[in-house]
Symmetry: C2
Subunit: 333 residues, 2 copies
């Protein structure tokens, strides 16, 4: 449950969707994945897309069934040293602090106000839940969206000193565009908050709000001075992680994906679910192997642990991206 | 709650999406709503769409914000003498009966097996919940979808003697196509079961599965003999009716609609929510006034009651469709 809460605490914004030029018959096709090094993984991606989109292919898939799902944290953008949604929580607590003088001495707020990361990392379910509910609930849907956008515009990643919206993976932006160019419908299926991701997912990833699936808290319709509002309640509604991911896919998409991208054990069940369909499918795992340009972590990491799934992906021959060798660049620009 | 359950018990299939010819500059535009009589309502629809799609209009709306939501029962297809989803329940109970000899003497099953509509109509929450859970839960998502399609292909409406899929409203099919031709994204937001509607909504209404919002039961991911399945549990997850409709819109769409179609008090809150946004909006209520070609009912009906909302729609000047005078035809063909 603690892990679920860290997951629940998670995602942002790049402001440009690079669309590759469409090739016509008279010129050789442009490389639609220019940030991917040539090799086994890149070939597997091209081969998969050809196999499901070529009308002559025995494994051709009709357009409505071309569903691709992607985890967000660690798959589409970085997730170290904390899920980015937790940086939003920290930012929000500090912003709210002047109205809560008691927080100066009260945990779990004190640790945040003191920038005491050591204590913050010891927090269990109770403390994390209190922090999430304090920052995510008790306000309307509009107020929450404004808070997320305020954070995005004003906060910076602590070590990389960039807006979080610049810490998305350029190769994955290209992959999503490539799939869309081939009539895939692309969804996010993340343990992060659905309402945390939606305000920026369209601009950053080209993914419309209604194609974002995530964890949620209970929301309630009220007439406030005659004005209809949606009030966010301090109660969990749905945890879109592990076994929750195939459930979130069923609930929001209603079709089994044929492509699934992820990076951690939290994505294993949606990989298994994707793999279980008939016909050609592609399960693609990002392995964080690049301590120099990003981070290197897998089996022992508290965040984005890739252990059981690493074994299963290897055993089943799923595609594993080696970030260090498969990607020419990590971030845009 | 009883009403909610009747709502929960509801929605089908026509197999043709009529798309109107696109006009070019040299010919007068074709009437994209040929089944609507000329008059105030038809003009209001055209005026609204012009006002939000003409780039020169002061009330122009960008494409991502062109969200239209439609109730299903009584708005896109008929709902008398029972919500159609209840006919599915009846069909399913009869199909399952040979394996349940005890049902011959046990309520609520006996009433269904005896075609005892009088008793059926006396059922309260407890009985209805038992019928719904017996037919909607305890099976996998795939088994449920197969059951819905079996019903659709084999059952007929008791008085109209047609497949339920033929009892959708031709004028509304045209309206949805007209909106889509103008770059609206069209959603169903229904009290009926989300998984009951999805298998046929795309073929009948042109609405993709992920644009269907409805009531749901809890679903659970399981590995059954190593095979991932989604098992439908006998527990309500979400009731997408009344106050639930704006919540369902927030959860699945993440944007406030600018167009809302409905027919009953159950749609009032999503009408209010749609109306509360800035800029031009359209709230369109279907009034069932045609006892000859369909049914006539409003304030006193148990199904699709249109009472409080009829007052509010009148008072606020929302569009009210008089089925008898505004529609040239009711059903396709």
């Amino acid at each position: 449950m603690r892990n679920k809460l860290w997951i629940l605490i998670s995602l942002i914004f790049i402001g440009f969707a690079c669309s590759s030029p469409v090739a016509d018959n008279s010129t050789p096709p442009a490389d639609q994945l220019p940030s991917w090094n040539d090799g086994k993984v890149k070939k597997e991606i091209f081969d998969f897309v050809d196999a499901v989109t070529d009308p002559e292919s025995p494994t051709f898939v009709e357009i409505p069934d071309r569903i691709a799902v992607f985890d967000n944290d660690g798959t589409l953008w970085s997730e170290q040293p904390l899920y980015f949604q937790l940086f939003f929580v920290i930012y929000q607590i500090k912003k709210m602090a002047p109205d809560h003088p008691e927080w100066i001495t009260e945990q779990p707020f004190k640790a945040i106000l003191d920038d005491d990361m050591a204590t913050l990392k010891t927090f269990g379910m109770k403390e994390l839940l209190e922090l999430v509910m304090t920052t995510h609930a008790g306000i309307t849907s509009v107020e929450f969206e404004n808070a997320v956008m305020d954070w995005l515009h004003n906060d910076r990643h602590p070590s990389l000193k960039k807006p979080f919206t610049k810490l998305v993976y350029q190769p994955m932006l290209e992959l999503m565009n490539y799939l869309r160019d081939n009539d895939f419908k692309v969804f996010i299926v993340s343990g992060g908050g659905i309402d945390f991701m939606r305000p920026w997912a369209e601009e950053v990833y080209g993914i419309p709000r209604n194609q974002v699936v995530g964890s949620s808290i209970v929301t309630q319709f009220e007439l406030k001075d005659g004005e209809p509002v949606l009030v966010r309640m301090p109660e969990l509604n749905f945890i879109d992680d592990k076994e929750g991911k195939p459930v979130g896919i069923y609930r929001h998409i209603g079709r089994k994906p044929i492509f699934c991208g992820g990076n951690s054990d939290g994505d294993l069940q949606m990989m298994q679910y994707t793999d279980s369909g008939k016909g050609k499918r592609m399960m693609l795992y990002i392995h964080h192997t690049d301590a120099e340009r990003e981070w290197a972590y897998d089996r022992d990491s508290h965040i984005g642990r890739f252990n059981k799934a690493l074994d299963e992906a290897t055993e089943k021959g799923w595609t594993i991206v080696n970030m260090k060798t498969d990607w020419k660049v990590i971030y845009p620009e």
